[in-house]
């Protein structure tokens, strides 16, 4: 180490004035890059549970995950993760996140995904007819036809099914079930666009009234540092509040949660910040079962690792689900572990698909 430093000093003395100027410029750039890395790490430490991160080490490893802070509401669970996407900028990472298709990976159990316009019609949910014929989807159909107690809809929505039921139809999901869900999902998407999560009807079909917006706000309230870090972004979105100034990218999915088929509505937001950073938020603001609300926040910083422009990504996943409220002690640890594994799996697939992974 000492020998290298001596040689560098000797070389510098032999350099011409011009070369010396270039070296000085490189030195300034290097200092700038080091400062950018230090800023990213220090900002990451300020709001996340990752208080010590070695970028070089992180770049060589898989995603790092850890459970979030304990929360007083037993329905809540949070996991944080971070990783380095080598060779791509935050802007490129954001673009890749927007375009990534989770349905390509069966392990992630997302059966259908479809983007939505801001003024959707029932035709936007026609893909439900193409749902795969598997046990979770069949249980989803059965739960709908019975209007079972686990179905997360409002009383008003439940009445609509009674009126619309009785028709025929074939396929994995019968036509009346498709029609019912197309109506529910269309109406909920429109109310989200006009009034954010606050305008969503409650889950009160069978049991106490639960509002997804209250759950989202509860999740953020219990993680004050994260809420502060993302206050600017969240204040411009419909997450836990009325419609914000940022335009959401809307979508719906049919996926599996707790062995049940679930239709869910989502909205993604992102915005760039100073110094090439980005923040993004992705909320599943409605689910027909399995969970009340799921929120994922992203913070992306430009960093340089081994001379390559890269992105340090922090991801915070938080979920509110009735089933979590029944877990205690080691069962809760187990569910956290499963959530961490699922996030690791999703991030690994994403990195592999976007060539940033190893």
């Amino acid at each position: 180490m000492m020998l290298m430093k001596t040689r560098m000093l000797y070389l510098q003395r032999c350099c011409s004035v011009r070369a010396g100027g270039l070296l000085l410029l490189l030195l300034v750039l290097r200092v700038g890059l080091t400062t950018a890395n230090a800023d990213a790490i220090s900002e990451l430490a300020s709001f996340s549970i990752f208080d010590k991160v070695d970028l070089a080490q992180l770049a060589k490893s898989d995603v790092k995950t850890a459970h979030g802070p304990p929360m007083s509401n037993p329905r809540f669970l949070a996991v944080q993760s971070c990783y380095v996407a080598s060779g791509s900028s935050p802007a490129q990472q954001m673009q890749a996140l927007r375009q990534w298709d989770a349905t390509r990976h069966r392990e992630l159990k997302v059966f259908l995904h479809s983007d939505l316009p801001s003024n959707p019609t029932t035709a936007n949910f026609e893909k439900l007819r193409n749902a795969p014929n598997n046990a979770p989807v069949r249980s989803f159909v059965a739960a709908t036809e019975k209007l079972g107690p686990d179905l997360q809809i409002s009383k008003e929505e439940a009445k609509k099914f009674s009126a619309g039921a009785g028709g025929g139809g074939g396929g994995t999901i019968p036509a009346p079930v498709v029609a019912f869900w197309a109506d529910v999902l269309t109406a909920r998407t429109k109310s989200f666009v006009s009034g954010g999560m606050s305008a969503q009807p409650p889950y009160d079909h069978a049991g106490p009234s639960i509002r997804a917006s209250d759950e989202a706000n509860g999740l953020l309230r219990e993680q004050g540092k994260i809420r502060n870090q993302f206050s600017g972004l969240l204040g411009s979105t419909g997450i836990g509040r009325g419609a914000g100034s940022l335009k959401p990218e809307l979508y719906w999915e049919l996926l599996e949660a707790d062995d049940q088929g679930v239709v869910t509505l989502g909205a993604s937001y992102s915005r760039s910040g100073g110094g090439g950073t980005y923040q993004a938020g992705d909320v599943l603001y409605y689910a027909s079962g399995g969970y009340y609300v799921a929120l994922t926040l992203y913070q992306l910083w430009p960093v340089t690792v081994e001379g390559k422009p890269s992105t340090l990504v922090w991801r915070g996943d938080m979920i509110s689900a009735a089933s979590l409220g029944t877990l205690h002690g080691v069962e809760r640890l187990g569910s956290e572990s499963v959530m961490m594994k699922n996030i690791t799996k999703a991030v690994t697939f994403f990195r592999r698909d976007t060539s940033g992974g190893r």
Binding site: P70, D150, G329, V330, E331, G334, S337, V338, K341, T344
Partner: protein, 307 residues
């Protein structure tokens, strides 16, 4: 792993440990002690089993016939979350009562009062480890208690979470007073289908079928093995002086079927009936052993849950 070994746990000195748990929990949540106390999570179990008339035999001629058994358990463990993991601090009491004839060289009561001191730790997204000790008094009559009535059996077990539907369990149970002080065990917890669960983990391996959200039925077993010290004059009173103050390892296996009925999110009622095919009273250091000669039917009820 949650039920890797369910053992009787402790009483009189649980209070300081409980306060420690509450304090750790309060610091973790930056709340007041009183506020935290109302939020301290805990698990409980109150269980009673009646085993009908069974027989044991020692050698070719010495039998103890047609005696029944009552096994009662009360278990209370606080499970606050800390930075290290989930603490397990509590107490457990277990009492076996046997309806023995007068001439039997067997104690008619075996009981334990012990603390539960454990920790569940998350080592990674795939591995959870439990370390738990049950220091306490393991004795027959609770007369003339001394330091040698104290024992500290403990277990260390790890769960490898292969997937949400499949977990592998490895563990070791240690009890220096037992005939075999170290007993390793392996198990698997496999959700075979949406309603079927194979929970092949000692001491209560089970195959469960979930009938609905609130009711499950199962077939399975319950394996018990605990060491107790008998009274100072137990041997003299029964004509075998070498059994005075001796260590007795009591083992039994129950096999049967039952149901779990979730009455509320925090209360589950369990009923089980079956047959006890194995029972063994082993004064192994004194080389006196009564082994199973005739099995017996049993019935068990329990109320358990967690907050």
């Amino acid at each position: 792993m949650q039920r890797f070994i369910r053992r009787a746990l402790a009483g009189c000195c649980v209070a300081p440990l409980l306060l420690l748990a509450v304090r750790v929990f309060a610091e973790e949540n930056n709340g007041s002690w009183l506020e935290s106390l109302s939020h301290v999570p805990f698990e409980y179990n109150a269980e009673d089993t009646y085993v009908g008339g069974g027989d044991v035999q020692r050698g070719p001629n010495k039998s103890v016939n047609d005696f029944d058994e009552n096994d009662s358990i009360v278990h209370l463990v606080f499970t606050p979350r800390t930075k290290l993991g989930v603490l397990r601090i509590g107490t457990d009491w277990e009492r076996f009562s046997f309806g023995l004839p007068n001439h039997a060289a067997l104690p008619d009561t075996l009981q334990s009062v012990a603390l539960v001191m454990g920790l569940d730790m998350q080592f990674s997204d795939s591995i959870i480890v439990r370390a738990e000790g049950q220091p306490g008094v393991y004795d027959a009559e609770f007369d003339n208690l001394g330091w040698d009535n104290f024992n500290l059996p403990f277990l260390i077990g790890g769960t490898y979470i292969y997937s949400p539907n499949l977990q592998l369990i490895l563990g070791v149970s240690v009890d220096i007073e037992r005939k075999y002080p170290v007993i390793p065990a392996a198990g698997v917890r496999w959700k075979i289908a949406s309603q079927w669960l194979l929970d092949a983990v000692l001491p209560t391996p089970r195959l469960e079928y979930e009938m609905n959200k609130d009711v499950s039925v199962y077939v399975g077993a319950n394996v018990k093995q605990t060491s107790y010290r008998v009274d100072d004059d137990f041997g003299t009173a029964n004509g075998i002086p070498r059994l005075n103050h001796a260590i007795l390892t009591y083992s039994e296996v129950r096999t049967g079927g039952g149901f779990d009925w979730k009455i509320s999110p925090i209360v589950t009622f369990t009923g089980e009936v079956g047959y006890q095919p194995y029972r063994n009273f082993d004064f192994y250091r004194a080389e006196v052993r009564y082994h199973q000669d005739g099995g017996a039917p049993y019935g068990m009820i329990s109320l358990h849950g967690a907050f």
